[in-house]
């Protein structure tokens, strides 16, 4: 288990869930699996915390849910992106990239502060 335990910023989980659902509807467990997979298990959050986030997204109208059947033939609740959820993902992703770019640029700076 790697030590780099990342503390999730407020709202980050939401964007990642939206991203997970951007290909096709998934149930909660599949979202967890995907998150762990793409982050190389670096994200160690309680799996349960995903669910309030999903329900909140549903309440805000970005995600909708439907009962379906899982790969092994069990009833599972599938979440999918709504059009407004997709728009939200797009704008969130853009602002994340800009934010990350700025932080990266700052951290990569070589010029030291000029005395006045």
């Amino acid at each position: 288990m790697p030590d780099t335990n990342v503390v999730l910023l407020q709202g980050t989980l939401d964007v990642m869930i939206l991203k997970a659902l951007s290909w096709r509807p998934l149930h909660g467990y599949a979202v967890t699996r995907w998150l762990q997979q793409v982050s190389d298990d670096a994200l160690r959050v309680e799996e349960g915390s995903l669910y309030p986030a999903l329900h909140r997204l549903e309440k805000r109208g970005w995600v909708m849910s439907e009962w379906g059947t899982s790969e092994n033939n069990r009833r599972a609740k599938y979440y999918s992106l709504t059009p407004s959820g997709r728009r939200r993902l797009r704008s969130e992703a853009t602002s994340w990239e800009r934010f990350a770019g700025i932080v990266a640029k700052v951290l990569a700076a070589t010029a030291q502060p000029q005395p006045r």
Binding site: G28, E46, G48, Y51, P52, H55, K77
Partner: protein, 892 residues
């Protein structure tokens, strides 16, 4: 096709069990995770533990999820409710746009009915029900309506009943107020020194009157009403301490009461307040024989504040005990113990006897308004029911096409609620206009409601809207409910017209409409006949072109010799006005209130019978008969020199001559009237003295010149007749009199003709009210009859068409339709006629001898309704007779 918005899909997901869903979701997650771990080689137990471990606090997450889901469901439900309501409203508006006359009719009728009733209720509320402004805890106040108290008796009784109540006393007196150059006549409230402390009322400016003001040696103090302060003193706050002249004596202004304060009076707002001693020391000279300390002069009315724990009956007992212990406390007449009458509620306490009259008049007005409301209600009910029946078919179709019954009901509910909202708003507007109108009305002899703050409050708004809502819900939803419950197939195939219960209800409504209409029409006809008869009555005098005004020389503190000079000089000045043909003074006029009675005996005749021992009199100056054009019949009337003759002279009327002359000539006979011996010099025509429909009664005219000491110091009326050239004669007469003597304020100036017209005011008002109501009712009933007949035609169209197809004459179809409607109209006419004959007996006094069973009125009222009903029913009947029978039969 428009894309279905996203929220609609959520809406359909309503009503799931959120907790179970979340549980299932969590369980699925745990199972999947455990399965995966097992596949990786863990034991079942270990896998399960690990899965739970990774999930975290299951209970917490579950709780959070359920809470989120529930709040989402709540939001969606609210959203859906608003959207549905909005859609229903739009549908309803579209419905109403298609039938504007239905909306107009029901909204206007409801608005008129509710608005009129509300306005009247506000008036009754302000006068009768609302607590008096500026009075502390009015529910503790009691009013001792009888007997009137002499001042010393009041002082004694007040001390003796102190344990039961704090008593104060008051009376109304006219006063003249002189400030600067202008003298005006006003109404003063003469009160005991503790009056304001018993009422718990404070002054807005300065102080109210207090106990120490009410003493013989105290300087005269006066408290102004807010209105007087505003109009006469321009709201000058430096007015406190200023000296004015009351009845010619100086008085210091000590306070101004708050706006709206009117003591315990009902409608009349006193202009100023004086203490008993303050007023008496400036009392008119006709009180000069009286002593404030006499116990024979019961002129004060008592009111009191009950001590804690005491009841009005305790006060009655205490007062009675006092009257038995000390008879003279209560007594003018020595042999009777008067029963004190205590009116407990302050609403009833206000206004005294005159108040009772005003109150009953107001209740009558309210009842009339309520009758209009009832009519409006019946009308709207039948409109709504008819509409409901019309729509049964439409509703049936919608149900058959799979419309949700609940949704349909909701739709209809929205429609009725919308109608009620319109009607409620319109009612409030009507009520607002109505209260403004009522506030501007001044009824001669009754007073004005201007000083009461009438307004349409929140409470009225609630009442108006809920009444409108109640009506429209009751009658709007009933048919809808029935329609939605009914057999769908029957509703479509028969057009929903097999509705016996609802039809009976409609019939009942029509019958009551017709009977109300007939009752109102006959009532109006009776009043019209009464008025016509009253107008045809010759009053015996000619009121046209005569101005009258009143002066009160006693209040100006004249003595008899000054009074005589004034009366003679004023007549000269009035006679000098160009165009004046006759001038006179009199202490009473025909058809004015009040009567003067004197004892009578005829010299040389045996004592008169009991009912003839007293006779009504008036003191008049020479010129009186000319001014009123009362025709002399025998002998002569007064001339200028009559007061010079040693023996007194009188003029009598024809009824007197007939009753006492016994066929012989009455002129030259001697009478004893009120103790003085007088010679009859002439006989004049009979005049209507009190009521237009009275029988001629004996009357004696005394010359005023001889009796100034008796009559001239009381208020006397100046009469001025012109050739008709002056339009503002009453004002001119007033100005002339003011110019002649600035210290005498003439009052109550008017054209005698106007006063004469006012004698018929109750009849005119009743006729107006009934006339308007009956026309309203008439229109409503016609609509009802028309729609009943059309309805009959529509429901029976198959049967009628079949008969026509089989060769029936069109006339027989017309007859059948008419018969159906007229039976119901006939029942209503009979019921209404019976009701009006019974009801109008109470109003007989206003009818001038027209009997409630007057055939003309009955025939006119009932006949009008019958004929109009026939015509109204004829339209659909003719249409039925002319229909294309085969086409109709094929239609269904």
């Amino acid at each position: 096709m428009k894309r279905e918005p996203m929220w609609r899909r959520y809406v359909r997901l309503r009503g799931p069990d959120h907790a179970a869903d979340v549980d299932e979701e969590v369980a699925f997650h745990l199972d999947e995770r455990a399965a995966e771990l097992r596949a990786a080689g863990l034991s079942a137990d270990a896998a399960r533990r690990e899965a739970l471990e990774r999930f975290g606090d299951t209970l917490r997450y579950r709780r959070e999820c359920v809470a989120i889901d529930r709040s989402r469901a709540r939001h969606e439900r609210a959203l859906e409710w608003w959207l549905t309501t909005w859609r229903d409203t739009r549908v309803a508006l579209r419905q109403y746009r298609r039938s504007p006359w239905f909306v107009f009719g029901s909204v206007t009728t409801l608005a008129l009915g509710i608005g009129a009733t509300l306005a009247m209720y506000r008036l009754v509320d302000a006068v009768v029900l609302r607590p008096l402004p500026g009075v502390l805890r009015p529910q503790e106040l009691v009013h001792v309506a009888k007997p009137g108290m002499a001042y010393p008796s009041f002082r004694d009784v007040r001390e003796a009943t102190r344990a039961t109540a704090h008593l104060a006393a008051y009376s109304y007196r006219p006063v003249t107020l002189r400030y600067g150059e202008e003298t005006t006549r006003l109404t003063a409230h003469v009160v005991s020194g503790n009056y304001f402390s018993v009422l718990g009322s404070l002054a807005a400016l300065g102080r109210p009157l207090v106990e120490s003001d009410d003493a013989a040696a105290a300087p005269r103090a006066v408290v102004l009403s807010h209105v007087l302060w505003k109009t006469r003193f321009q709201s000058d706050s430096a007015v406190i301490g200023r000296v004015v002249s009351v009845n010619g004596s100086p008085a210091t202004i000590v306070g101004v009461m708050a706006a709206g304060f009117r003591g315990t009076s009902l409608t009349a707002v006193p202009n100023l307040w004086l203490t008993v001693h303050g007023w008496f020391s400036a009392a008119p000279t006709y009180f000069s024989r009286l002593d404030l300390q006499t116990r024979d002069w019961g002129w004060l009315v008592m009111l009191g504040r009950l001590q804690p724990g005491q009841s009005p009956s305790n006060l009655v007992a205490a007062l009675k005990a006092q009257s038995i212990r000390n008879r003279e406390l209560f007594m003018q007449r020595k042999n009777a113990i008067l029963e004190p009458v205590v009116i407990s509620s302050v609403a009833a306490a206000s206004g005294g006897a005159g108040g009772a009259r005003t109150r009953s008049f107001l209740w009558v007005l309210l009842a009339t308004a309520a009758l209009v409301l009832l009519l409006a209600w019946v009308n709207v009910a039948s409109l709504l029911i008819a509409r409901g029946m019309q729509r049964e078919r439409e509703i049936g179709v919608r149900l058959a096409l799979g419309a949700d019954r609940k949704r349909l009901m909701r739709q209809l509910l929205t429609e009725t609620a919308l109608l009620a909202l319109f009607a409620g708003a319109a009612s409030l507007a009507t009520a607002y206009v109505g209260t403004r109108l009522l506030g501007s009305v001044t009824i001669p002899g009754w007073g004005s409601f201007r000083d009461l703050s009438l307004g349409v409050g929140l409470g009225s708004a609630g009442v108006a809207v809920s009444f409108a809502l109640g009506t429209s819900l009751l009658f709007g939803l009933m048919p809808a409910l029935r329609a939605t419950r009914r057999d769908v197939v029957a509703a479509i195939t028969h057009g929903g017209f097999r509705a016996p219960r609802s039809a009976r209800m409609r019939d009942a409504l029509l019958v009551s409409q017709v009977s109300l209409t007939v009752a109102l029409l006959i009532g109006a006809a009776l009043f019209a006949r009464g008025l016509q008869r009253a107008l045809a009555i010759d009053p015996g005098f000619d009121p046209s072109h005569v101005a009258v005004t009143t002066v009160d020389l006693g209040i100006a503190r004249y003595d008899s010799s000054r009074a005589r000079t004034y009366l003679d000089g004023a007549l000269e000045r009035l006679r000098a006005i160009p165009g004046v043909t006759a001038v006179a003074w009199a202490d009473a006029l025909p058809l004015f209130n009040g009567e003067n009675i004197e004892s009578l005996s005829i010299i040389g005749e045996p004592p008169l019978l009991d009912d003839q021992r007293f006779v009504e009199i008036a003191a008049v100056s020479h010129g009186y008969f000319e001014a009123l054009r009362i025709a002399p019949k025998l002998g002569r009337v007064f001339n200028e020199s009559d007061h010079l003759t040693k023996a007194g002279v009188v003029v009598v009327n024809e009824a007197f001559a007939q009753q006492h002359g016994k066929g012989k000539d009455i002129v030259g006979r001697q009478l004893e009237v009120g103790g003085s011996t007088l010679t009859v010099i002439g006989v004049v025509r009979d005049v209507k003295y009190h009521r237009l429909d009275e029988q001629p009664r004996p009357f004696v005219y005394l010359p005023m010149a001889r009796s100034v000491s008796r009559a001239g110091l009381w208020p006397v009326i100046a009469l001025v007749r012109t050739d008709g050239r002056h339009k503002e004669l009453p004002a001119l007469v007033d100005a002339t009199l003011r110019d002649f003597a600035p210290d005498v304020a003439p009052f109550d100036r008017q054209w005698l003709g106007d006063h004469y017209a006012n004698a018929l005011l109750p009849q005119r008002l009743s006729l107006l009210l009934l006339g308007v109501c009956s026309l309203l009712a008439f229109a409503i009933a016609l609509v009802g009859i028309y729609s009943l007949a059309s309805f009959f035609v529509v429901t029976h169209r198959r049967e009628l068409a079949l008969r026509l197809a089989l060769g029936a004459q069109p006339q027989s179809v017309v007859r059948q339709v008419l018969g159906h409607g007229l039976v119901r109209v006939g029942i209503g006419v009979v019921a209404g006629s019976i009701a009006v004959v019974a009801g109008m007996r109470a109003a007989r006094a206003l009818l001038y001898g027209v009997e409630p069973t007057d055939p003309w009125a009955l025939v006119a009222g009932a006949g009008l309704v019958l004929v109009a009903a026939m015509l109204a029913a004829l339209v659909p009947a003719r249409m039925a007779a002319r229909m294309d029978a085969m086409h109709t039969l094929r239609q269904d």
